[in-house]
Symmetry: C2
Subunit: 135 residues, 2 copies
Amino acid sequence: MKTLAFKGYNKNSRFMKTYKSLTAVLMDHKLAALGDAYVNFAYSLVLSDRNEQPSGARVKGRVLAEALKKAGLRECLPSRMNRHMLADAAEALIVYGWLNGLVTLEESVTLLGKTEDGVEAFSQLLLTIKSRVRF
Amino acid sequence: MKTLAFKGYNKNSRFMKTYKSLTAVLMDHKLAALGDAYVNFAYSLVLSDRNEQPSGARVKGRVLAEALKKAGLRECLPSRMNRHMLADAAEALIVYGWLNGLVTLEESVTLLGKTEDGVEAFSQLLLTIKSRVRF
């Protein structure tokens, strides 16, 4: 079953801790650091498909912060949050979704590729994960 | 078979072109741009496992350039190449390996996690891919 392990990477991973709430996931800066790498890789695949040639992408914090708000997740966070913190929250939830097998990398890429509007694309991915999260 | 698609991402991907030689892969800067995202994500997973908490990583060009030389791949490239170009070559080959199903993300993470010496780790990954490449 080795080849299936990255479907939902690692429910058994040593580094996955248990979260009590959506807010706890969104506020985890360490999760955001890993999420940053996941988001850039997934979006690089989206752009590669779209451009029909291999491409690299760094997703802007502004896009992720707006996507978080559009997905109605702003209300899960404290009032004093700057754009950088909102972007971190989006990255944290996205990689949480992948680590827990709520979305695969393939599904992430498919969802993100449905529109060229980055905010809408990440908003849809966040909404999909949000709809599947259980605490 | 959806969940298996990212084992070797996309032999059918629109953006994968055919390469005539190892040198052609190593010299493809667009492949390197996507490879950069793959390498950082894979190594972020390695560090997450090692640190026992989610972590983000940006792999230094110096490490990748040294790994390329250690893997005996320097000789596949023209003589005038700076460190940045050597690092690009390493990124290109690594993601080529993944895109073509020569290594999975899981195997990449496992291989990279075997030693804390980054140069040795990436050298082993490059050697593994090199040993499986056919043109």
